[in-house]
């Protein structure tokens, strides 16, 4: 039982109750895509890279500028 309790969050994470292909109506919408505004994201990354000490996370670290 203890093992089961420990596994529950992992089970939830692994989506062990799989969403079937015919149930993907919502997930297939463009606004549900994780990268639905790539240019906005690239601009944000560039601005924050040049003003803050952190970068990357969603994708590679970014950078490639002197950004003074």
């Amino acid at each position: 039982m203890k093992k089961l309790v420990l596994c529950l969050p992992l089970l939830a994470l692994a989506g062990c109750a799989a969403v079937q292909p015919w149930e993907r109506d919502v997930l297939a919408r463009p606004d549900m895509s994780l990268d639905n505004a790539p240019l906005d994201a690239a601009i944000d990354d560039h601005i924050y890279f040049s003003k803050e000490a952190s970068s990357g996370g969603r994708g590679f670290g970014g950078g490639g500028c002197g950004c003074n």
Partner: protein, 434 residues
């Protein structure tokens, strides 16, 4: 618990443990095969107090060649003008500095945080990537990036591989990126911790370029949680080595009692105070954990993201972001909120105190200090009858920092110590197909 249930639970746990933590996503909007689609944007970024302003244009082209084989390329042009804090502290007297080129001097008014106003640059960047399935369930991607500006060149490449599991409800990915940047500062590279010299005296500067290598590793895990929710978790590791200094940043050397910058008598035109060029370590290792959840409440969609970053310079940061996309007529409205906080680098010094040992590494760059930043924004997007989309986004960015109490000496307590920043961002976007 029945034996079969127990087995399933154990297997799932084992799988979860193996998967650990995306480069690719399991759910991607389908682009029409055989057609080009474009995403373009025009951006204005302007900081208050005549600091940096940037006008940037970017266009991204994407073509699906069928069977999920896609080419994408983005071209960006930036024009930067304005002034940037040099790292020197504000004083009750005007201050004169030698410009980075070493050929002129500039003066900051009494009470003002010194800004280097010789800042002008144009940057061009090109990024391209190719994505294709490698086998059933496997997706491969390769890309490169190049950018150039007056004193800086960047060249990088990346590879990533993703595999779907669990009826494509789970995607695990791994990626690697490598880049080499060359820095050729205006007026030469100052020797770290050397003193700013008179106009025309370049004896503390070295000609030629220096380079910086960056290796990034990314492990990604994307999971469909249910019919309306998707989760992404990324772990990234980044190792930078080489020239990591900012060649234009200074530190004021101050009197231990008054906290005012030591005076210097220029031999002609030159600085009237003692300023040293900064010195940073030549390696930096960063690690971050990024979590993102996207959830649909019927038509509205909420995006939530959190990132924790830590590095071996002593900087820890937390970033949280929420966006809510709400349908409105033929389009949507999307309020956005972001909060960021970071701790200072171990070698961050607002100033250096005369008479004490000069540390090996020191920087007064405000971006390495202790600060919080908030971004509030709103985006409106509109779908046209021809299936294209235009959008406008407006954001306000505010940074508030502080200098550790033990670093504040004498009169510094009565002046602005940290160059707080506010900026306005306005962006127009247009997406269309040909």
């Amino acid at each position: 618990m029945k034996d079969t249930d127990s087995f399933n639970a154990t297997l799932a746990a084992a799988t979860c443990a193996l998967l650990g933590s995306s480069v690719a996503t399991p759910v991607v909007a389908a682009e029409e095969a055989g057609r080009w689609s474009f995403d373009s944007t025009l951006l204005y970024y302007g900081e208050s107090d005549d600091r940096v302003s940037d006008v940037s244009a970017a266009v991204s082209a994407l073509r699906n060649f069928g069977d999920d084989r896609k080419l994408s390329a983005t071209l960006t042009a930036d024009t930067l003008t304005g002034a940037s804090p040099s790292g020197a502290i504000a004083l009750d007297r005007p201050q004169t500095f030698t410009s980075p080129s070493g050929r002129a001097a500039y003066t900051t008014s009494a009470g003002d945080v010194p800004l280097d106003d010789t800042f002008l640059d144009t940057r061009f960047a090109l990024n391209a990537s190719w994505t294709q399935p490698l086998a059933r369930l496997y997706m491969f991607s390769a890309g490169f990036g190049f950018s150039t500006e007056y004193d800086y060149t960047h060249l990088g490449a990346n590879l990533s591989l993703a595999r779907d599991f669990n009826k494509r409800n789970t995607t695990v990915s791994a990626g690697v990126a490598y880049s080499q940047d060359d820095i050729d500062p205006v007026g030469g590279r100052p020797l770290p911790l050397s003193q700013m010299l008179d106009v025309g005296d370049n004896s503390n500067k070295r000609d030629g370029s220096e380079s910086k290598d960056v290796l990034d590793l990314l492990l990604g895990f994307t999971q469909v949680l249910n019919r309306t929710t998707v989760l992404r978790v990324n772990y990234s590791y980044s190792d930078s080595s080489g020239y990591l200094n900012d060649p234009y940043k200074l530190l004021s050397v101050v009197d231990p009692v008054t906290g005012d910058t030591l005076t210097r008598t220029p031999g002609g035109l030159g600085p009237d105070g003692v300023y040293l060029f900064e010195s940073r370590p030549d390696t930096r290792t960063k690690q971050s954990l990024y979590t993102e959840v996207k959830h649909s409440f019927g038509a509205p969609v909420m995006h939530f993201a959190y990132r924790y970053m830590t590095d071996d310079w002593g900087i820890d940061s937390h970033t949280g972001e929420v966006r809510l996309r709400w349908p409105l007529g033929d389009g949507y409205i999307e309020p956005q909120l972001r909060y960021y906080t970071q701790s200072a680098a171990d070698f961050y010094h607002a100033s250096l105190v005369a008479g004490t040992a000069v540390p090996r590494y020191a920087s007064a760059d405000f971006r390495l200090g202790d600060f919080d930043a908030t971004t509030v924004g709103i985006k409106y997007g509109h779908d046209t009858s021809s299936g294209n989309e235009w959008s406008i986004r407006a954001e306000y960015y505010q940074q508030n920092g502080s200098v550790p109490r033990e670093q504040i000496v004498g009169n510094q307590a009565n002046r602005e110590q940290y160059p707080d920043l506010s900026a306005v961002i306005v962006q127009f976007g247009y997406r269309f197909k040909l």
